[in-house]
């Protein structure tokens, strides 16, 4: 009786969110390798932008472009990357204040080990090869300071081959801990692989596209050192050294991103609990077992472990049925996707003999328009199914209304 049932349960919810002018411009900008912030009334610049001032709740809409280089303001080493995180290899979470911004953005820093990371480290954006208008258009950050720094252009160069090998290794290690994760781990490693080599080539392409879309912007880009860095990130080992200021930006892009698809997947282990587990175990023997409330003596089928009227645990298993009475029903005329049952069919509340609560079941074995309240039915088991496939008429006379009126 103490068999602990459990089953995997995956919940996936692909939320789609509207972006509005501020987040829409920010995420479209990322797609175009431009980082936008928003200016607060006091002049400070928020990156990532918010639609409202975090202190005063004032409406914010003055967009500005900031650099794609910045400074680490806080960091934490992540030795065991999880599914969905930006890198498949151990990395540092970093808060980066981009040049021209006054707030910091959370992302991943590709670094070989925690010794290569410190507050104050200079970093730059590494763009994802395929960009869709999402925060993940930034693949990660990488250190770019030159000599003397652990992560510089040199480190960035060697990061690529090492990363790939590591990625595979991580995927394997993840397998041991969480078998279900394997596909994802591999995918993460792949993503990293693709991101880097393609990046440089893509840079040229984006520059072209930007030119076509926004001729006005080009002049801007030409006289801003920061802008030049954006176009050719991998070669810009030595910027001018001056921290770029945030520059006004109209937030207008061709083909703007207006919504964000935010897929999420969570994995659970469903357990039916003590009372329902006992019920399911009995069903495997083609018996229906409910539980009696110790206070009001009602028998609940299927049992949920507590009496909703008395608020106490039910504890006494009681076998009910197998026969029962249709208390009420409906005729289903709409075919459910993936369901083999032909419409119309009848779905009924059935009070099994001895139960004080009706359960749900399909009624078949007679024409749908002959089903009626009071009809006496019995379960039909098919194959090795762990619950009755449907209920069919027993042939007994109908039950008088008064015998089930309290169960409606």
């Amino acid at each position: 009786m103490s068999e602990l049932l459990s089953a995997p349960l995956t919940v996936e919810f692909p939320f789609t969110r509207s972006l509005g002018p501020v987040q829409g411009a920010f995420l479209t900008g990322l797609r175009e390798r431009v980082v936008l912030g928003v200016r607060r009334p006091d002049g400070r610049v928020l990156v990532p932008p918010l639609e409202y001032d975090p202190d005063t709740a004032a409406d914010l809409h003055e967009l500005v472009e900031v650099g794609t280089t910045g400074t680490v303001t806080c960091w934490a080493w992540n030795p065991t990357p999880r599914r969905g995180q930006p890198l498949g290899t151990p990395f540092a979470w970093v808060l980066v204040r981009l040049d021209g911004a006054d707030s910091a953005l959370l992302h991943a820093l590709d670094a070989p080990d925690p010794g290569a990371v410190r507050t104050g480290l200079r970093v730059r954006v590494r763009w994802a090869a395929e960009r869709t208008g999402a925060i993940t258009d930034i693949a990660c950050f990488e250190a770019y300071e030159g000599e003397g720094e652990e992560g510089g252009a040199h480190a960035a160069d060697v990061a690529e081959p090492a990363d790939r090998a590591d990625g595979a290794e991580v995927a394997d290690r993840t397998d041991v801990a969480e078998p279900a994760d394997r596909a994802d781990g591999a995918e993460a490693a792949d993503r990293t692989d693709v991101a880097e080599p393609v990046d440089r080539a893509d840079g040229a392409e984006v520059a072209d596209r930007t030119d076509v879309a926004e001729p006005a912007d080009r002049a801007d880009g030409a006289d801003a050192a920061g802008r030049t860095d954006v176009e050719e990130p991998a070669d810009a080992a030595d910027p001018t050294g001056a921290v770029p200021r945030a520059r006004p930006h109209d937030g207008v892009f061709a083909d703007p991103v207006t919504s964000l698809a935010a897929p999420a997947r969570l994995d659970y282990t469903y357990t039916p609990g003590r009372a329902h587990g006992r019920h399911l175990a009995a069903l495997a023997d083609r018996r229906t077992v409910g539980e009696r409330c110790p206070a009001c003596r009602k028998v609940y089928v299927p049992p949920r472990g507590a009496c909703p009227t008395c608020g106490v645990a039910t504890d006494e298993p009681v076998e009910v049925g197998p026969r029962g009475t249709v208390t009420t029903f409906c005729v289903v005329n709409i075919k459910a996707r993936g369901l083999a049952i032909e419409v119309p069919y009848v779905y009924a509340h059935i009070a099994l003999d001895g139960a004080d609560l009706a359960l749900h079941g399909r009624v078949a074995g007679l024409p749908y328009d002959r089903v009626r309240m009071g009809l006496r039915v019995e379960p039909v088991w098919v194959g090795d199914g762990r619950h009755p496939d449907h209920y069919r008429p027993t042939g007994e006379p109908d039950a008088p209304y008064d015998t089930y009126r309290e169960l409606l």
């Binding site: 990156v47 990532p48 030795p79 999880r82 808060l95 953005l105 949920r304 009227t309 106490v312």
Partner: protein
């Protein structure tokens, strides 16, 4: 708005009791029975019922409705639910009692982290545009706070390897419940009611990069509004720090010195999520019930890096 409200009973799951395979309502039932027995009330005699839990934790929509069986919610009772830690359910119940809508309230909360992957679940509470797509787990975010503390000089090394100290024990499945009552009812139900002298909750921006992660201004503000800095000083503080590095931040924001007993009930890190904050309130009240505290502070938190904070100040009866 002058009715005084007290916590008159508290119960929580025994962390040592096995919970494998239990449903939420089965976790909850022994706790509800215990807290009602302490007051002598039956479920049907409670004026208002309020609970806190999370569908994301349970992996099911409207999961709190199943737990309602445990309080005898049929025929319908005056009931509400917050998709938050039960500490916030207690706040809602306190408002109901203060405004004269009920004389007694049952507040309960539960969490069953064993049902899923808590680290993944908690990423879903983050800002959906800038943070959630990166799936940053709560231990990583807390480690950012630890780094912020180290950089600010407020936390003294040894610097932990990898930049983050190990987290506490993993949260267990469990539940907690308290009963609130007003004025004379409270005195009738409890020998030493823990009067809620003040209670307040405040929130900080969801953008981690606009906050000072080494500080908790929302805790400080909530504490001030709850009267925590008024005389006489508190002798006990029950702090809800899901990660060890967060405790020094809270101690500083709450100006707790060596004279205050901090978390005499034990650290909160292993308490069931969604019930951990309510447990802090309950433990602080229970210390007053036992005569071990005159004035106690209780704190609950929610969100990444101590984003939302609730502070309550509880007091025993003045000396006669």
């Amino acid at each position: 708005m002058t009715r005084r409200v007290a916590v008159v009973a508290f119960a929580r799951s025994d962390p040592a009791r096995p919970t494998a395979g239990l449903t939420e309502v089965e976790l909850l039932l022994p706790v509800l029975r215990e807290v009602l027995e302490r007051t002598g009330l039956r479920a049907g005699e409670i004026g208002f019922t309020c609970s806190g839990s999370s569908d994301y934790l349970a992996g099911r929509a409207f999961s709190f409705t199943l737990a309602l069986d445990g309080v005898g919610a049929w025929p319908p009772i005056a009931e509400s639910h917050v998709e938050m830690d039960g500490a916030w359910a207690l706040y809602e119940a306190w408002v109901k009692l203060r405004t004269g809508r009920a004389d007694t309230a049952l507040v309960y909360a539960w969490g069953k982290p064993s049902a899923g992957d808590l680290d993944a679940v908690l990423t879903r509470q983050l800002d959906p545009y800038h943070l959630a797509p990166l799936w940053p787990d709560p231990a990583s975010l807390a480690a950012l706070q630890e780094r912020a503390l180290l950089d600010s000089g407020a936390l003294v090394p040894p610097v932990p390897a990898g930049g983050s100290s190990p987290g506490g024990p993993a949260p267990v499945d469990g539940a907690a419940a308290v009963v609130l009552a007003v004025e004379a009812t409270a005195r009738r139900l409890c020998a030493r009611p823990a009067w809620i002298r003040g209670i307040d909750h405040r929130i900080e921006p969801h953008g981690l990069g606009v906050r000072d992660l080494a500080d908790s201004p929302s805790t400080r503000l909530a504490a001030a509004r709850a009267g925590a800095f008024d005389a006489p000083p508190v002798d006990t503080a029950e702090l809800h720090a899901p990660h060890p590095a967060q405790e020094p931040i809270l101690r500083r924001a709450l100006r707790l010195d060596g004279a205050v007993a901090v978390n005499p009930s034990g650290p909160a890190a292993a308490d069931p999520p969604m019930a951990a904050g309510l447990i802090r309130l309950g433990e602080a009240a229970a210390r007053i019930h036992r005569g071990r505290s005159r004035r106690a502070l209780a704190h609950a938190t929610s969100g990444p890096c101590l984003q939302q904070n609730l502070v309550a100040v509880l007091e025993g009866e003045p000396d006669v």
